[in-house]
């Protein structure tokens, strides 16, 4: 039944430094008590690094500000601690939808991938693999498949250089620059089974 006061949080005096001594006396309280009452959580964005970015979800493309601890431009590790709409942006004017408001949860999701993995035929699990090994395996498989299956000419003798046994689905939220690099590689090697999220 009892409220056990000992289980409550301890005082956080750190946030109450700005209380003037005079007002304490005026209110007739003890110092510690007044300090608690003055507790308003300190601005959690103080001394963070701001970076202008664009929401990666829908194509309204709201301006967002990433607030990080650490500054990438200074070569530091930057940890994202908050995301907010950019009030300077003409479209969203600082607002964000329920997805955009939670962008931090996407960036810091527990299900973010952090290492290359391989699932071997018939296996019931992924296992780690190095980047080198993963990329070598992929390139080898592609070379073999292309050499075996590239349709070089059609029945009429027209060069067609069409590779249909390997396909590529490109993303929906990568940058134009990523898209261009991807386009060059995929088209350059002859893949025709090429599509992006706009299809569906």
């Amino acid at each position: 039944m009892n409220v056990d006061l000992s289980r409550r949080g301890f005082l956080k005096l750190a946030g109450a430094g700005a209380v003037a001594a005079t007002s304490l006396g005026a209110m007739g309280f003890g110092e510690a008590e007044a300090a608690v009452m003055a507790y308003v959580r300190p601005n959690k964005l103080t001394a963070t690094t701001e970076t202008r970015n664009t929401c990666p979800y829908c194509s309204v493309a709201c301006g967002v500000i990433l607030y990080s601890k650490g500054d990438r431009t200074q070569g530091e590790v930057a940890e994202l601690i908050h995301v907010e709409g950019d009030a300077d942006h003409p479209t969203n004017r600082g607002t964000l939808c329920p997805k955009g408001s939670a962008l931090k949860d996407f960036v810091r999701s527990e299900t973010r991938l952090t290492e290359p993995k391989i699932r071997r035929p018939g296996s019931d699990r992924f296992e780690p693999i190095t980047w080198e090994e993963a990329l070598d395996r992929i390139a080898r498989a592609m070379k073999d498949d292309r050499d075996a299956n590239l349709v070089t000419v059609n029945d009429a003798g027209t060069p067609v250089n069409r590779w249909t046994t390997t396909g590529f689905l490109a993303a929906s939220a990568t940058t134009n620059e990523t898209a261009w690099a991807t386009f060059k590689v995929v088209r350059g090697i002859g893949i025709v089974g090429f599509d992006n999220q706009a299809r569906v």
């Binding site: 607002t95 991938l113 059609n154």
Partner: protein, 811 residues
């Protein structure tokens, strides 16, 4: 979008049909509420469900999924009958006066030229009559019975309000009220904007849904004006960009096309693309095709692309089918004809129709490579998750390599929004663990493959060995390098054609924009429509001047939009034939006696005199098309077609199923159901709390909508004994899902053909990875058939059945 999000504030009337802007694009929708608040604009919502967009609408009307064309053709008929037509616009800026061939016609729901065996049309008759000079014949008085206007009148005549009500289930009084509201915007000083998205595209006749509204907007004079337009809201943040850059089977950057094997050489390829004007003096901008194409080939293959090699024409694959789109690739995969498949930030196991087929198809691959920032269902398609992914890993021999990639917060570059703005962003976080950028990954794959061809030789190695890859660090080209490549540069010094002593661009410098591109090999440009985005003025996509003189909403100096930083397409049509703003209260561009000027970059040559050069410069006619000639596979006018799975037969032709020219694979036909077996109409959609299959990985979004559910009416719940919050089973001929039931007044049975039609709403955000509860997506249920023109699957109208799950308390 023809216009932009910020332009919506200029409108008088918003119609959201084929979309759900408030839920799917909340921050863009702000401009609707802005127009309502400050212009007194009205909002109409037409949707099978009373959505959250409908919750703030002035007028809501329900509609049966898959019947939008009937509604829209009914609207056009009403406008014509009630003289709600912007006559100046229709006569001057559309092809209303063009004469159509005598042999074109329409009956039994089909246009002339149908070949049932091929499921295709011979489109020869779908064209204008031409004079001996090669120009199209017209009748500006609109008296000739063969003119487009009279053909259109005849075509829509059947779509009376009664007919529309019978097909769509939209109550006649609501249809007529909406018609009156829309009709008001035929005045030059009133405008309407159309906001649509996948609610229109995800049908087997999705392109014709959109054409239907585009035609209505042309008749009302609402295209090219502030507060008007056809505004595709678009889904993901950069599907616009990826499509612009040609990451589709049949595309090259800037909407150039992949060659087909019917085009054995460069000359043949080019012949069918440089459209000559069909009317005297018109721009027909595609006449410049060869400049864009040669510059593109130079960007790909540099010195290997020369006149002697046909600009390396044979380095490009030649298509033998219209496209190896995603559906075709999964069909081929299902048949065992695909060995390796890459998924870069794409989750097809949930995104593509008929999940059962997709699982079987993926299991036939030798190698699946997934690049993603997050776990995806696709990358774990082989993993057993009970009812949520009931597979036997031991039986699946596909090797899967999962590569961790960075996300937006960790990379740099540009994205294209629905309004065609290219906006640059900067990284603010360090990538987790070993995650790498997609550019790095693609470079690594390419460099390894190239090395294998260098050392081992192989089949047709030239396109790979000669692909330009002259980046400072070949292992990871920078965003700036790639962006500058897309903008294009001079390879040799460019001089003024009228004064060769005047240097326009020094060799090696960025071109100003695509007007400087050449077809002689002296320029390179990865994507002509982006030319101007990063020129010698610097990175224009990174501009952040948010000033907006006179509050027009154009924001000319914020980022950069394609083409040429133009914010409203066809903006020449905002002025009358003499070049004066058609609505003086909303001027956009105007003719000052010598040139076009105004708030936007004119969508016409700045010195093109009004009255001579018409606004639709990409069309060889110079005008817009109410009659689309042979541009679309399923008809020059939209016509009502039922979905492939429908509770009603096609009223025009009871033998016709779905879109008569939509591609159907043999194995999928037997999986189409009839309403005898599956009595209810399923439709899929997003909810505002989630973004596709990503945000279920986010704890907060998982809190906001934790669990898969379906929505049904109180009437259907009563009929089937389903309790609110109870578990139900929903199944189609292709699969079965289990869901919680949301029983709502917001879905009501529609009366179509005298019978009630029940709709089952199926949102799409759940799977078996992430923070939210495990669930299903609608693609377990949906049919494997796409739109006849663009192959977008029919996710919005299909047949299902529903029952309480055994063991659930009965309502």
């Amino acid at each position: 979008m023809t216009n932009s999000w910020t332009d919506i504030k200029n409108t008088d009337l918003v119609i959201v049909m084929g979309g759900n802007a408030a839920e799917a694009h909340p921050c863009g929708f702000k401009w609707v509420t802005e127009a309502k608040h400050h212009r007194g604009a009205k909002l109409i919502v037409v949707d099978p469900r009373f959505t959250r967009t409908a919750s703030v609408a002035d007028m809501y009307a329900p509609i049966r999924p898959g019947t939008d064309i009937a509604f829209l053709m009914g609207m056009i008929r009403w406008m014509i009958e009630n003289d709600k037509v912007d006559w100046d616009y229709v006569k001057n800026f559309t092809n209303a006066s063009f004469l159509v061939r005598e042999d074109f016609g329409w009956q039994d729901g089909l246009f002339t030229g149908y070949d049932e065996g091929k499921r295709d049309y011979d489109k020869a008759s779908w064209d204008y009559q031409f004079g001996e000079d090669g120009y199209a014949l017209t009748d500006p008085t609109l008296q000739d019975p063969r003119c487009v206007w009279n053909m259109l009148k005849a075509h829509v005549d059947v779509y009376t309000p009664e007919f529309v009500e019978n097909i769509t289930g939209t109550p006649r009084d609501k249809f007529l009220k909406i018609a009156e509201m829309i009709g008001e915007t035929s005045a030059a000083d009133k405008t309407m904007t159309s906001m649509y998205a996948l609610g229109w595209t995800q049908h087997s006749k999705g392109s014709q849904n959109i054409r239907g509204m585009a035609m209505l907007q042309l008749i009302l004079g609402n295209i090219g004006v502030r507060g008007g337009g056809m505004n595709a809201l678009r889904g993901h943040s950069n599907i616009q960009g990826l499509t612009d850059i040609g990451l589709m089977s049949n595309l090259l950057p800037g909407y150039l096309n992949m060659p087909t094997e019917k085009e054995p050489d460069w000359t043949t390829y080019m012949e069918s693309r440089q459209f000559r004007p069909l009317m005297e003096g018109q721009t027909s901008y595609w006449q410049n095709y060869s400049k864009f194409m040669v510059s593109f080939m130079k960007s790909m293959w540099g010195d290997a692309a020369t006149p002697e090699t046909d600009w390396a024409y044979h380095y490009l694959p030649k298509l033998d089918v219209p496209a190896y789109d995603m559906l075709r690739m999964f069909e081929l995969m299902h048949q065992g004809h695909v060995n390796i498949y890459f998924c870069q930030g794409f989750n097809p196991l949930l995104a593509l129709s008929n999940r059962g087929k997709n699982t079987e198809a993926l299991a036939k691959l030798k190698l699946l490579v997934v690049m993603d920032p997050l776990e995806t269902e696709t990358s774990r398609f082989w993993e057993n998750h009970g009812i949520y992914n009931d597979v036997d890993p031991a039986a699946i021999q596909t090797e899967v390599i999962q590569l961790p990639s960075t996300c937006f917060a960790e990379d740099e570059g540009s994205l294209v929004n629905s309004g065609r703005w290219l906006q640059w962003h900067w990284p603010g976080a360090t990538a987790p663990g070993q995650a790498q950028t997609d550019v790095w990954i693609m470079a690594q794959i390419f460099l390894r493959l190239r090395e294998l061809y260098r050392t081992e030789g192989g089949v047709v190695p030239e396109p790979i060995l000669n692909l330009t890859w002259d980046y400072a660090d070949p292992n990871e080209p920078t965003a700036g390098e790639l962006a500058r490549e897309m903008n294009g540069r001079a390879l040799t010094t460019l001089t003024d054609p009228n004064d060769p002593s005047k240097v326009l661009v020094e060799a090696g410098q960025q071109v100003l924009n695509f007007s400087q591109l050449k077809d002689d090999g002296s320029t390179m440009c990865g994507n002509w429509i982006y030319s101007g985005s990063w020129n010698e003025n610097g990175n224009n996509m990174a501009r952040r001047d948010n000033s907006d003189p006179d509050n027009t909403g154009t924001y000319q100096n914020w980022a950069w939009s394609w083409p040429m930083n133009r914010r409203i397409l066809y903006n020449r049509a905002s002025a009358d034939l003499d070049g004066n703003p058609r609505d003086p209260s909303r001027p956009l561009i105007w003719w000052n006696g010598e040139r076009w000027e105004g708030y936007d970059v004119p969508d016409i040559a700045v010195t093109a005199p009004p009255g001579q050069v018409m606004p639709f410069i990409m069309n060889p006619e110079g005008v817009s098309r109410l009659f689309s000639r042979g541009m679309m596979r399923d008809g020059p006018f939209p016509t009502h077609m039922e979905p492939f799975e429908s509770p009603m037969q096609n009223v025009f032709n009871d033998r016709m199923r779905g879109n008569p020219v939509a591609r159907v694979f043999e194995s999928d036909v037997e999986q189409f159901a009839t309403s005898e077996e599956f009595p209810f109409v399923g439709t899929s959609y997003r909810l505002t709390e989630h973004f596709h299959y990503w945000t279920k990985h986010n704890r907060v979004n998982a809190v906001m909508q934790p669990e898969f559910f379906v929505e049904i009416s109180e009437e259907l719940a009563a009929e089937r004994g389903i309790a609110r919050g109870g578990m139900v089973r929903v199944w189609s001929k292709r699969g079965s899902v289990q869901a919680k039931a949301v029983v709502t007044k917001r879905i009501k049975p529609l009366i179509c053909g005298g019978k009630p039609v029940h709709v089952v709403g199926i949102p799409l955000h759940w799977g078996f990875t992430g923070a939210a509860r495990k669930g299903f997506g609608p693609n377990t249920l949906t049919p494997f058939v796409g739109d006849a023109n663009i192959e977008t699957p029919e996710f919005k109208a299909f047949l299902v059945n529903i029952e309480p799950l055994a063991g659930e308390p009965i309502a």
